[in-house]
Structures are given as C-alpha cells and as structure tokens.
C-alpha cells in the first residue's frame, strides 16, 4: 500500500445560519485506505463531504489533493479531480436506464450522438472491470435498492474517481447486500481507489475501515486506527456522557394507556420501516424510544397519530381498540391523543399564522372558538394569551406570527396546544432538537408533570442522556424492530449504543 496522503481537509468551517455544522474539522485520507467518518446524525459528516464534492462552499479552511491546494466550487470540479460521491439519497433519474444514469454529464463538448447500444456496452465494460453486475439497459425505477447503489458507484468510477465517498451506504441495504458492498469495496481498494465511508454503524466501521475519524456536534473528537480501538470507546466518543438525572416521582404499575400490536408501516418508497412491532405504555408512564435516526421511529409515531396510517396491526388508545389502518389525525385527537411532531415548523405549525391561530389549529371547529360557523377571534386570542403566558412563550403576543418566534418558543406553542387539554396519550418526537438548555428543561418539566397526571407518554429521542433521565423504561428501535427494553437505572450509554447499532444484548430485568 502506498504511503503519503492523497487527500487532506484542514480546519474546515461551515455555518448554516446560527448553526455551526463543521467546526474546524481536519481529516486526511491515505491512498488505498478505507477511512470511516463516524458520528450521529447532525454531527456534520454529510456537510463535510458535500463540501468536498463541491455542493457546498466552506466558510473557511483548505483542501489539498496529493498535497496540492485545490478549490472545488462545483461537482464538476470535484469530478475532474477524481472525487466521486454516492449520496445517501441516490442522485438517480428513476425513469432513465442504468446506463443513461451512469454516463449522464460525462461527455466532452464535442460528443453529441448517443447510441444506446454503444453506451450500454461502455457501461458494461466499466462495471465488469470493477466487478459490478447489473443490466445497463434496465430502468432504474425497476431495480432493487442494492442494485441502484451499484449503479451509483459505477457512475463515480466511470468518471474516473480515485477518491470515492460513500454516504451511509448501508442504510438502505439488507445484511447480505451489505456484505456484497464490502466485498466490492475491498476490490476497489485493490484496484487503486481510496474510500471515505460515512456511517453511524459501529459494527460496520470496525469491520471494513482502516482508520476512523469520529465527529460530534461538528467537531472532530479523534482519529484512530481501527484495529487499535474498542467498540465501547467509539460508542462513547460518538455519543457522549451522562448528565445529572432529574428527580422523577415514583410510580406504581397501571393499566395501559397506549398499546400497539404487530404494527407494520410501509413508507412511500415501499420500504417496510416498522416491522410487526408491539409495545405497551401504561398510564402515568414514559416509555422512551431510542435509536439512530431513520430506524422507524418517525414512522411509528406517524402511524399511531394517524398521519401516515400503518399497513397492518392493531392499536389501543385510551382503552379504545382499533385497527391501525383506521386511525386518522382527527380520531387520534378525539380519543385523547396528542402528538408533538418532529418537524415543528413544517408539520406542527403554520408559520404564517398567528400564535393564537396555531393554538386552535385542531379545535377551531369547537365552541367556544366558533359560533354559528364564525370564528370568535377575541376568545381565540384571549385563550391564546393565557396559554402563552402559562407556557412561558416569549413574546406572549397571540397576534404575532409564529414564524417570528425562535425555535424554542415555537416548540412551546406546540406544547401549549397539545398538552393543555390534558391528553391521555402523548406521542413526542425529538421534542428538544435544536433547543437550548432552558427550553429543553421546560419541555422535560412539562412531560414529567403530565406523567404525574396519568398520561401515557411515548418519548422518541436520539439524545441518550435525555432518554435516560426521562424514561421509566427505554425501548431501543433498530430497523423497525425492538432490540431491547431496558431500565435506565440498570443500563449505560454504551449498552444502549450497542443496542442502537443493532447488536442484540441480553435483555435486562
């Protein structure tokens, strides 16, 4: 294996608004190496690679290739320098054939004619050269995801990529397809390609990479040789440590407030995101749901709340049994359900509306907010003023457009709306994402209070400290299935981390 450095990114800084996505990040790639970039979602991995690929421009920092400084202002630049990227969401044109996708954009100015047969033959040749196998004439839409990924990889290789970036490639693959991918990766290394492998999956990183760089909240935590590091250490580097626990009143077992049986959810891309899952939340209990983003949590929450109904299964809300397919948002609300969605600005609120209007979004048809079909604006806004004060929204102006509030205050508006009617079942999805400490505290307090009042709360989060503080029990979700149900007192972040990565551990208690 050659020595030296093929790629070096130095002190990369990138901001989006107030958020620092990359905070002076340094990373190097040696020739013939598989270098893993490890971190949770939001850690800054994809941003960094998008900078390398020319989709974003860094605010500051330098990139060198073979120790020569380069400026990458567009994907075309990156491609010309031998950098190829396979994105998490494939950049494929569904209605084109595999060959058309591979050659897209690759011609020299003079080349105009495109004969399908020739193109397919060319693509086939490159695919064979690197050991990939698919039908170049097949339309991408008809291909399974694993094969689509191969097309994406061949696309990069066809353009002469020597540095290949793979962004969470195994997120959409079965274990078998993953093994296949790793075999291909090793082949590519043997053929002179160097690979940056973005992932949050510990096992795979340990299996396939030579070196690993861990990112957390935009900063590099450390870079290690893979064979010199332990799983547990990586987990801690990635996830962080425990905070002080919040006092929670003790509870006695109660009847269930929310039951889910054999729930299966299929998303729009026809992928099964929740696989025959069953769970039970008692009244006055908080069940935390842990897991890396994208393992079915949002789909689970949406299915229970009726936003995107399940494909099959049964649900019992506040004692009322029903087929999971028949839940609608309105039914869920009528049965005493409240849902705090993960995307507050786009799903939970209408930012153009005033806070007063947002607070009655679900109840605008009920008296006293409506009389003979007419909205009672005064009552709506008086009610809103009370709520806004109670939930400490700043500024507590019911006529102010909600879009003008900060994220923390927007979340409080949602809480005010959802929690004020003392719901019996509360589904919460990443409620403190992007909030500062004060707002986070507030959210936690509210939920604990409602727990004391007997609500059954399903609490989905990817912040382990938060989950361990808040939950009576923690469910770990991986690929739409439950990996384990643990008590916070009897577990550690490391164990949770391993469960989240899909490693089944002996269930506690």
């Amino acid at each position: 294996m050659a020595t030296g450095t093929i790629l070096r990114m130095t002190d990369i800084v990138k901001r989006f608004g107030h958020v620092l996505a990359n905070d002076r990040v340094n990373i190097q790639l040696a020739p013939g190496e598989i270098h893993a970039l490890l971190g949770e979602n939001g850690a800054g991995k994809t941003t960094l690679m998008n900078i390398l690929y020319g989709l974003y421009q860094p605010d500051s920092g330098a990139i060198t290739i073979h120790e020569k400084p380069v400026k990458i202002t567009s994907p075309a630049d990156a491609i010309s320098m031998g950098i190829g990227m396979v994105h998490q969401h494939f950049m494929l044109i569904d209605v084109f054939t595999a060959a058309e996708n591979v050659v897209l954009g690759s011609w020299k100015p003079a080349e105009l004619r495109m004969d399908p047969a020739t193109v397919e033959a060319q693509v086939q040749a490159v695919a064979n050269q690197f050991g990939f196998d698919f039908d170049p004439a097949a339309v991408v839409e008809t291909m399974p995801v694993g094969v689509q990924q191969k097309v994406e990889i061949v696309k990069a290789l066809y353009r002469g990529a020597k540095i290949l970036i793979l962004d969470e490639p195994t997120a959409v693959l079965t274990p078998q397809e993953t093994e296949e991918l790793f075999r291909c990766m090793r082949d590519l290394i043997a053929k002179g390609v160097s690979i940056i492998f973005i992932s949050h999956k510990l096992d795979e990183v340990l299996e396939i990479s030579d070196r690993v760089t861990v990112l957390r909240l935009g900063k590099v935590v450390g870079t290690q040789l893979t064979k010199q590091v332990r799983k547990e250490d990586l987990a801690v580097m990635m996830i962080g440590h425990l905070l002080e626990r919040m006092p929670k009143p003790a509870r006695t077992p109660q009847s269930p407030g929310l039951t889910v049986k054999d729930l299966t959810v299929i998303d729009r891309q026809k992928v099964e995101k929740v696989k025959g899952l069953s769970l039970r939340v008692e009244k006055g209990q908080i069940i935390g749901v842990a897991g890396i983003d994208g393992n079915g949590q949002v789909e689970l929450a949406n299915a229970i709340a009726g936003i995107w109904p399940a494909a099959s299964g049964a649900v019992s809300i506040n004692g009322v049994d029903m087929d999971a397919r028949s839940i609608t948002p309105r039914r869920f609300t009528d049965l005493g359900g409240a849902y705090i969605p993960q995307d507050r600005s786009h799903t939970g609120l209408i930012l153009d509306f005033s806070s007063g209007e947002n607070l009655v979004l679900k109840r605008y048809r009920q008296p006293p907010f409506v009389k003979h079909g007419f909205l009672q604006h005064r009552i709506i806004h008086e009610n809103a003023a009370k709520l806004l004060a109670q939930y400490d929204v700043r500024p507590p102006d019911p006529y102010l457009q909600t879009g003008k509030l900060s994220g923390g205050n927007q979340q409080k508006v949602i809480l005010a709306r959802e929690l004020h009617e003392d719901p019996s079942v509360i589904v919460v999805c990443y409620p403190t994402r992007g909030l500062d400490i004060g707002a986070t505290e507030f959210v936690h307090q509210q939920l604990i209070q409602h727990r004391s009042q007997g609500a059954a709360i399903l609490f989905i989060s990817n912040e382990l400290e938060e989950l361990m503080e808040m939950s009576d029990k923690i469910l770990v979700l991986h690929r739409g299935e439950i990996m384990g149900l643990v008590e916070p007192a009897a577990t550690t972040p490391e164990t949770l981390g391993l469960l989240m990565m899909g490693q089944k551990v002996a269930a506690h208690e």
Partner: protein, 381 residues
C-alpha cells in the same frame, strides 16, 4: 461579479415591496416609452386617461362597469390562491355561468323579476361552480394538476357555448350568432342613469365583503387558509384536504360564473361567444396584483377598470392607442410579483410532481439526512 449578481437578485427576491405603488410607478414610467415614440407627451396622455376614467359620473360609470367582471374573476382566483389552488379556469367558468343565467332567463320569461333575477343569478353561480368542481375533484382524487385541467376546461366551455349560440339557442332570423334577448324582468337594474353601470357591480362589492368575512372570520375560511399556507400541517391538524379542494373550486367557479352572469344580465342581454375579452385571465392578473386579498383585488380591479375606461378616451382625444393600458397592466403585474416575492417561504409548488403535499402528507422529513440546513430560527430566545 458573480457575488454581486447573487446579492442583487437575493435583494430583489427578499425585499418585501408591499408597495405595489412602486411597481406601479415603474410600470407607468416604462409604458411612457411607446407614448414618446408616438410623439406624444406621456404626462398629457396619462392625464387624458385619468380624465377619461373619472371625469364625471358617466365616465366613472364606464370605469366601474369595466371593472365589474374582473372583480368577480379576481375574487374567484384569489380565493383559490389563498387555498393553495391555481384556478386558471375562470374564463370557462364565467361562460358556464353566463349560460346558466341565460337558460333560466329565457326559459321563464313570465316569471316576476323578484323571482327570475335571483333565480338566474343563482343558477348561473351553480353552473360556474359545477365547471370548477370538475377539475377540483380530479385534483382531490387523482392529484391531477389543476393548471392544465382548467385551461382545457376553458376551451371546452368556449366551444360548447359557441355551438349552442350558433345552433340550438340561436336567435332565429338573425345574422349574428347569439341568443334571443333576455326578458326585461331578468335584467340587472342600472345604477347610474345614462350609463351601463348595473347592479352587478353592487353584487361584486357585496361579495368582496363576503369573501373577506369568509376567509378571515369563519371556520371554513380558516381551514382554507391553513390548507393553502401549509397543507402538511393542515393534514396533521385533522383537516380534510380533499373536501377542502372540492369546496374551494366550487366557490371559486361560482364566483367566476357570476362574472358571466352579470355581463349577460347587465350589459349584453343575450348570450354570445364573444362577450368576454379574456376576463378570466384578467382575473388572474388582478388576483396577483391584489396579493390574493379581497380588498387588494377590489383595488386592483378598480385600477384595471380605470385604465380601460380611460383608454378609449385617451385614444380618441390625443391619439395614443388604447392598447397602451395593456402594457401598463402587464408591467404592473410583472413588477408587483417580482417585488412581493414568494407567498410562502418555500418556492411555490406549481405541479404535484413526486410529492403531493396535502392529500397525503409526507411523514418522512428530515430523516435520516438531518444535516441539511437546520432550523434557522435558532437563537435561544
């Protein structure tokens, strides 16, 4: 250079020129060019135009008369816009409305006015509503793009009416293809003697108020606005997006239908296929100028009415072609739209494409690629 260009266009886009006046001023300035080429003084021309528009009760009557059909179609389009729908079909809907009114008026000539007039208007409204519901239903059920369907419906309506007035409904023994005159008892009373200004204008004013009340003060209006502003949140909140689409298209179609009704019962007194000079499309322009707000639409249609009322006068008196006002109108719309920018923060989705926001809200957002531009309103307090 690139940097400057980006900043310049960003500024244009971000600027909240809720001063359509500035845009108006620019439109007037640019429209002075052809006037100058014609060898006339633009200031004099605009003066003559204004004089022709508001100089005296008769001229005001003319301006208001010209504003009336556009006011109806403007309300129609604005109502649809506020609910997130593009109703380009006002033209066809107004033809159907005209047909409905004519059929009732001609069909019951002996009915007393107190019954016949409201009946004709009501049926006209229903015909227009029906013509709007068809594309509405297609959109609600199949997510078919309403821009294309409503344009098709315009032509189908036009040719159907054309067929009727050339054939089955044609006035016998006439050189022209139109229906017989509608009876006196079905005609809208004239408001200012000596002018053509008819009660349709008053109806339109009432509807401006009604639309305002509907949108701002009723629960149904709340639902419409919510769906138009953010279909996903509306769905999350339990609102039925489908029912909303059909209802809005019905109301919108009915309003446009009234444009046709009032033109027939107030001006033409008979149905033909040439009574509309594109009022439906003017409605789109006026709705945009008025920022889809009923009062804005009122002002914008009055503006158009004034321009057109004064145009013929301007042409007659100093020889500047009346069509100049169309230039002013086109430029005004253009500049206002550039100035006001997007209605919502995200680019307006014109066609459904892959993701149909609304009928099925998209549950998989921000997952797993949480590293795209995060929530920017993030500054603690």
């Amino acid at each position: 250079m690139n940097d400057f260009r980006t900043r310049f266009t960003d500024a244009i886009r971000a600027q909240n020129f809720t001063l359509p006046l500035v845009s108006l001023a620019m439109a007037l300035i640019l429209s002075a060019v052809p006037i100058l080429i014609a060898g006339r003084n633009p200031i004099v021309a605009y003066y003559e135009m204004m004089a022709g528009a508001v100089g005296g009760p008769v001229r005001i009557g003319v301006s208001l008369t010209k504003a009336t059909p556009i006011l109806f179609t403007g309300l129609s389009v604005a109502l649809a816009f506020r609910s997130g729908l593009f109703n380009i079909g006002a033209e066809g809907q107004l033809y159907l409305g005209a047909l409905g009114a004519t059929l009732v008026a001609l069909g019951f000539p002996s009915m007393p006015q107190v019954l016949l007039l409201p009946a004709s208007i009501g049926v006209g409204f229903l015909f227009g509503a029906f013509w709007g519901v068809i594309p509405g239903y297609l959109k609600a059920r199949y997510q078919t793009n309403e821009i294309i369907t409503t344009i098709m419906m315009n032509y189908i309506a036009f040719w159907f009416i054309s067929y009727l007035v050339h054939g089955p409904l044609r006035e016998p023994n006439s050189m022209y293809s139109y229906t017989a005159e509608v009876p006196q008892s079905s005609r809208l009373p004239v408001l200012i003697p000596g002018t053509q200004l008819h009660a349709g204008f008053l109806i339109a004013l009432v509807l401006v108020v009604a639309t305002y009340i509907l949108l701002s003060k009723t629960a149904i209006g709340f639902r419409m606005r919510a769906t138009g502003a953010n279909p996903e949140a509306a769905h999350y909140a339990g609102m039925s997006i489908r029912k909303n689409i059909v209802l809005v298209m019905a109301l919108s179609g009915g309003l446009a239908g009234l444009a046709g009704v009032t033109e027939i019962l107030g001006i033409q007194y008979r149905l033909s296929d040439f009574f509309s000079s594109g009022f439906g499309y003017d409605g789109v322009a006026v709705a945009l100028l008025g920022n889809s707000n009923p009062w804005g639409v009122l002002l914008a249609s009055l503006f158009f009415g004034l321009l057109r009322g004064g145009a013929s006068s301007m042409q007659r008196r100093i020889g500047v072609p009346a069509a100049t006002v169309l230039i002013i109108q086109g430029l005004a719309v253009f500049f206002v739209v550039i100035g006001v920018g997007f209605r919502s923060r995200r680019p307006t989705r014109v066609l459904p494409g892959r993701r149909t926001a609304g009928v099925d809200a998209d549950p998989d957002r921000a997952v797993p690629d949480a590293e795209k531009e995060p929530d920017v309103a993030e500054d603690g307090r």
